[in-house]
């Protein structure tokens, strides 16, 4: 009971939106800065790139070459130009995959957690089957026959997130669905779908935002990894993951073609993860690090 009296000022802060509270955490601000830096590189980069994206400016793997800052890549294209062009697609694909995964996962999670019973069983057992595969293996499995196609990558990565998101959101929903304000709506026989939308969903937004951030981080990692394995974006696309794959044999001769994209991916994922951590601190009580 003591806690109730002390919670008054904390309660007032609670009225500020989740995002506002998250931005008060220093980590979130660092994360935002890092993410914006990479976003700017990826979307403004092509405008300032010194060469054409497919132009050959010299021999392959040159550490220094006139007219280039970071040398040339495996085919003799300008590393800096390739780098500045190489983030856009990765970001767009990751974002789409995340939205698909979190969207489906949240819908399934709320439904399962609120309806319980056989609906819950069916949905979650189906999810268990997908959960038995590491995400990268699911992706490889489906890509093996259909081949690397953009829509397929987005869909597979998104779908492989869905059961993981569903688990978390179901857990959060269970806690909310037990609470009496849901019962109060049921006593008035408010339709179930409306209870799910207007009573439950607003109370799991914290978990939802955290999942969004978390899954975005993993989407970036996964899609970049697929390109790195040669099974994602295909040449001659300029893409960070692919650049690493194409140029890593010459790591000792011309390291920039690997160092630049790898650093960009690192800064980006660290940035999004810091934001996610800020969100989870702001919404409090959400366990991090168990839902990979």
């Amino acid at each position: 009971m003591t806690a109730i009296a002390i919670s008054a000022p904390a309660a007032r802060r609670h009225r500020d939106g989740l995002l506002v509270r998250a931005v008060r955490v220093r980590r979130t601000r660092i994360g935002l800065a890092l993410t914006l830096l990479v976003l700017a590189t990826a979307f403004l980069g092509p405008l300032v790139a010194p060469h054409g994206v497919d132009d050959f400016v010299g021999g392959p793997y040159l550490a220094e070459s006139p007219g280039t800052v970071f040398g040339t890549d495996n085919l003799g294209r300008d590393v800096l130009t390739r780098f500045l062009h190489g983030g856009q697609l990765l970001l767009v694909l990751s974002l789409l995959a995340t939205l698909i995964g979190v969207g489906i996962g949240a819908a399934v999670g709320v439904t399962a957690g609120y309806r319980r019973g056989w609906v819950d069983e069916t949905l979650m057992r189906t999810g268990d089957v997908l959960l038995a595969f590491p995400q990268v293996v699911v992706a490889l499995l489906f890509l093996s026959i259909l081949g690397p196609q953009l829509w397929l990558i987005v869909l597979i990565v998104g779908l492989s997130h869905a059961p993981r998101v569903a688990r978390v959101i179901r857990g959060a929903t269970l806690g909310v669905a037990e609470r009496d304000f849901v019962k109060a709506a049921e006593a008035a026989a408010v339709p179930r779908w409306r209870i799910a939308f207007s009573e439950i969903l607003p109370n799991v937004t914290g978990a939802l935002m955290v999942e969004l951030g978390l899954r975005l981080t993993y989407s970036i990692g996964l899609i970049a990894a697929l390109s790195f394995l040669g099974l994602g974006l295909q040449p001659p696309t300029a893409d960070w993951g692919l650049m690493i794959n194409e140029n890593r044999v010459a790591l000792t001769v011309s390291p920039w073609a690997v160092v630049l994209p790898v650093t960009a991916i690192a800064v980006l994922t660290i940035g999004t993860n810091l934001i996610t951590d800020g969100l989870s601190r702001a919404s409090a009580g959400i366990d991090r690090g168990v839902t990979r």
Binding site: T2, I4, A5, R12, R15, F181
Partner: protein, 591 residues
Amino acid sequence: MTSTTPTTPTTATLDVDHLRISGVPSDAVIVDEVRLEIAPGEIVGVVGESGSGKTTLGLGLLAYCKRGTRLDDGRILIGGRDIAVLPAGEVRRMRGVSVAYIPQSPASALNPALRIGTQLRECVGDVDEARVREVLREVALPDDDTFLKRYPHQLSGGQQQRIAIAMAFIGKPRLIVLDEPTTGLDVTTQKHVLETVRRMCSIYGSAAVYISHDMAVVADLVDRIAVMYSGRVVEAGPAAEVLARPRHPYTARLLMAVPDLAGERQMLGIPGHAPSPLHRPDGCAFAPRCLLAEDRCTHERPPERQIAEGHTARCFKAGEVRVEPSPRVEPAVAPTPEPVLEISGLSARYGRKRVLEGVDLTVARGHCTALLGESGSGKTTLSRCIAGLHADFEGTITLDGEPLPASSFRRTTDQRRRVQYVFQNPYESLNPRKTVRELVLAPVKHLCGAVADPEALLQDVLAQAALRPDLADRFPDQLSGGERQRVAIARALAAKPDVLVCDEVTSALDVSVQSSIVELLQRLQAELDLTLVFVTHDIALVRNIAQQVAVLEHGRIVEHGPVREVMQNPQHAYTRSLMKDTPTFVLEGTP
């Protein structure tokens, strides 16, 4: 509590002075200026409502600070040694031997992963098997090996609390701190636990600090009482004296707020609510709620004043405080009422467990019918069946002769509108993401369709529930517990119901707030001709609010009738034990 200076050698078991405990990092003062002196063998009751700092004080007596608090100032002499300034190792050696602690809920204070025997043996430095068994016998528990090998979850709530008591006394400490050790226990178990505490204290000559929010429990048990409000001891003195002639207005009002088991005295709430430690007023913390408050009370903090031998109070008006209990007025209700709800042959299951068995009950129009029972008696399930929240039952419920479908989703809009439900815990029953306006108007819009003038309706029901109109734009977490429960009641009233089902609506609230809610419900019953179904575990409360009572035990109604008859002449053994075991006290001047 005569004047002692720090240098005077003291014979007291506990001598606390100038104790201050603050929050970290907020610096809010949680407990301040506490002076407490306890003679060997004496039991002192520390009484306070939520947020008064009583638990923080209790832990402080063992030099233990919860995360986010720190011992700021003052001394805590136990047997002449100041535990507040001793190094950590010394403090540790004093715990369990000089001072021991009995927690509020043994269910969470006993380690779930360790056997009872392990948890008892580790208390005494060297394993002394004989001592373990001796103390088990003293608290009337089995002392055989099988029992010692059990895990906490294999014991009943009463047994767990006895283990906690045994654990505290195993090292024969001079001082025991008990933090509401009977919370959550039913009255009969509570009585046994209290008897055990009293016996153990006398066996070992231990002094005890008994922390509680319940005046009636304390009145029964302790030699002296210290009343806490907002982090300070506002009144302290011999128990009989404090109960008979309270000198602080808060004590007086608190006593009058306690429901009278005999039903002679009107229970009176205290308006407002206690301030949070972060927003305590400059002057007397009770001034905003005090009828006697004058100008200086709001900006000057009253010092501790001695009123009689060993009786102190922190109030400028200590001499003027009077307790004038008013006789209880039975509300005027129809003497031969017609039934509005009729329940017959109702049996309900919860999962595979049967929780109600063949319940027959008639609820009279305009009356308040109490469903009385301990936890697990099925009283809440019964109330949820009535509201259509628990559909897994057989039997019939009729509303004005018309059978009600089991699930609220199958009832007609009008049926749902006419039976409204108020939940036990207002911290759970209001969606934290909605404003009071949305909360109150949403069900009406759903049940009655478009409301002609929603704003007028809102203001109307807020006024009925005694809520300020400007609260309409607040969110639940900007309200106090009492205000939240009033919002929940206003939400039910907005539908203009015939029957209001109240499930333990006061049990999450402080005594002083509980009384205000009861006053409100009684007024609504009379003004709106409401039928109330009042679910409670508190027999004294039944006496003060209901006209009819149904006593439930293990899912059956064991006794049913008008409150006056049932309580004056209880027929069933269970009702009689409830009457006998409920702690009570008679306030002086009660008519």
